[in-house]
């Protein structure tokens, strides 16, 4: 179980991004972390995986614990070794490496299980099996996303952090990614799903957190959040009373000042 409590993260020693964030990812569950741009979602994933250093950020308060061990200041390689892998935002495939080599990098900490995981990934993504010798840089966005997920799976993680896996993908592909997540989860892996696409995320999440300005402002079961009015209005873009039009509304009518989020009052 991953447990983040009261985490504060400061960039460049001046910019406070996370202000006492607390979330939990129980084993075997899919947890969604939602929020608009700049809410601190990606920072959260960096804080878990130890990548804050690259961005001049550091956790100043609070802890991240993983299966009882404090990993707040652990090195990325140690964290991956302990069973947390991530699919980074924007896929970040190694464009100059072939598909096989990309997958090999994913198994860097998992030398013994490399063969097993490789077969698993090839089963999961038949597309990749067709393009094993191709340079990753020349593949389409969807294929790259699959490669990125496959690469993360190569480490045989117990927790998979996915940062915006649906970003920039066609709806059909989003659907596919969603299915893959479910499949992975069904195999016993817990997933921390960081998304802007709240609909997609909440539809499969066991639990969800909504982040604003570096704090959790709302949390609850996936279904409960989906049903929440504020979530509907601000994250799903649905307006109350417009429901029969199913989301079609003129933005002329949007008067934000009229409605305040209840957590902001």
């Amino acid at each position: 179980m991953l447990n983040i409590s009261n985490l504060e993260v400061v960039y460049n020693e001046v910019i406070l991004v996370l202000r006492g964030l607390s979330i939990e990812v129980p084993d075997g569950q899919i947890v969604a972390l939602l929020g608009s741009n700049g809410a601190g979602k990606t920072t959260t994933s960096r804080a878990i995986t130890g990548l804050l250093d690259n961005h001049e950020g550091k956790p100043t308060k609070g802890t991240v614990t993983w299966q009882g061990n404090d990993i707040t200041h652990a090195k990325p390689s140690e964290i991956v070794k302990s069973g947390i892998a991530q699919v980074m935002e924007g896929r970040r495939c190694f464009g100059e490496l072939t598909v096989d080599e990309n997958l090999a990098t994913g198994a860097f900490t998992n030398k013994s299980g490399q063969k097993k995981q490789y077969d698993l990934v090839m089963d999961l993504f038949p597309r990749l099996a067709e393009r094993r010798k191709q340079l990753a840089g020349y593949m389409s966005g969807g294929e790259q996303q699959m490669l990125a997920i496959g690469r993360a799976l190569m480490a045989e993680p117990k927790l998979l952090i996915m940062d915006e896996p649906s970003l920039g993908l066609a709806p059909l592909l989003v659907q596919q990614v969603r299915d893959v997540i479910k499949e992975i989860n069904a195999a016993g892996m817990s997933v921390l799903l960081i998304e802007q696409n709240a609909m997609m995320a909440l539809s499969i999440a066991d639990y969800g957190y909504i982040l604003e300005n570096g704090k959790v402002v709302m949390d609850g079961d996936g279904q409960k959040l989906l049903a929440d009015d504020d979530v509907k209005e601000f994250y799903l873009g649905l307006h109350q009373g417009d429901e029969e039009d199913s989301g079609r509304k003129s933005f002329k009518d949007v008067k934000h000042y009229k409605r305040r989020k209840k957590w902001a009052s």
């Binding site: 130890g50 990548l51 190694f94 490496l97 860097f108 030398k111």
Partner: protein
């Protein structure tokens, strides 16, 4: 005809030395995104290690002497010499590791040119030690074959030329296969996207260390073969090793493409062939071309190639932001 063969042999031998040096640059650049301006200092230190081992028979501040070294006044046999060469390369690699740990590791993720200036600082700081160690006396690397040469169809080909070509071939093969190994793939991943590589659990620090260790060893290899008899320092380790890295090898690695192993070799050979052949066959035009014209031939070749192929012959076509 003899002249042509002689010239060709010299060009290929010089190209081999350029290639070894280029490989050192490429390895470090690809692994750590650092353009290593300290290569001159590191390589000269490596050559000094060789000289100290084989000529002084041990470091003065250590209590024991080198038990393998040949007796005073004698030169080592080829096998023994190669053993010494290996030890010197290992010492150079250790120096590379130390420098990486002390000066480069804390800079992981910093801009390219900041790192380059760090290496420049290292070069400035290490150079006096090299100067002090060579002082005024010529330091030999104890080459077994000395100034001996072979005759081929009337052309005189020094054995050192052949040795340099063999060394470059071995170095190239080694680096080529290294790049296909587990660590090699990790290194290329780090080169492409450091953060993504970290996210895969690749220990970037270790990759940096390996790149610098190997790079330093290659640098020392280049310097040791450049310190053999027919080359300018005439069989000695001299401060002339410092400038060759910056002044003559830069066009080589740029021509080949900064991040290409094959490019380093091709660039080295191409530049050396142009340089040596221009020196040999255009010498009657010196009045027009100016004294020492062959020194700028590499740059002219580089300019022409780059205007046609902006990322060198084998470089990756990607805009590197600096």
């Amino acid at each position: 005809m003899e002249i042509f063969i002689q010239t060709l042999a010299k060009a290929i031998a010089l190209g081999s030395i350029y290639a070894i040096m280029g490989l050192s640059f490429v390895l470090i650049f690809k692994g750590t995104q650092v353009l290593n301006f300290a290569a001159g200092a590191i390589s000269m230190a490596g050559a000094l290690f060789m000289s100290i081992l084989i000529a002084d028979r041990g470091f003065p501040f250590l209590p024991f002497t080198n038990p393998l070294a040949p007796a005073d006044g004698e030169t080592a046999g080829v096998a023994l010499w190669i053993v010494h060469l290996m030890i010197a390369l290992i010492l150079a690699a250790i120096l590379g590791l130390i420098l990486e740990r002390v000066a480069i590791r804390p800079m992981v993720g910093q801009p390219l040119f900041s790192m380059a200036v760090i290496t420049l600082g290292l070069e400035i700081a290490i150079r006096p030690f090299n100067l002090d160690a060579t002082a005024i006396t010529g330091r030999s690397v104890g080459v077994p074959w000395g100034t001996e040469s072979w005759e081929l169809a009337g052309a005189i080909i020094p054995k050192s030329y052949v040795a340099a070509i063999i060394a470059a071939a071995i170095a190239f093969t080694g680096v080529y296969f290294f790049y296909r190994s587990r660590f090699g793939v990790a290194m290329r991943a780090v080169a492409f996207d450091q953060e993504a590589a970290m996210a895969q659990g690749i220990n970037v620090g270790r990759v940096f260390a390996i790149a610098w260790g190997l790079g330093a060893a290659l640098a020392a290899l280049g310097a040791i073969f450049f310190a053999m008899a027919p080359w300018p320092p005439a069989g000695t380790v001299s401060l002339e090793i410092h400038p060759i890295w910056i002044f003559r090898v830069l066009p080589v690695i740029i021509l080949g493409g900064l991040d290409s192993v094959a490019g380093a070799v091709a660039g080295g050979l191409l530049i050396a062939i142009f340089e040596i052949f221009a020196g040999q066959y255009l010498s009657q035009w010196t009045n027009i071309l100016g004294p020492g014209y062959s020194t700028i031939v590499p740059y002219i070749v580089m300019l022409v190639v780059l205007l046609v192929r902006p990322y060198g012959l084998f470089g990756t076509e990607e805009i590197r932001r600096v």
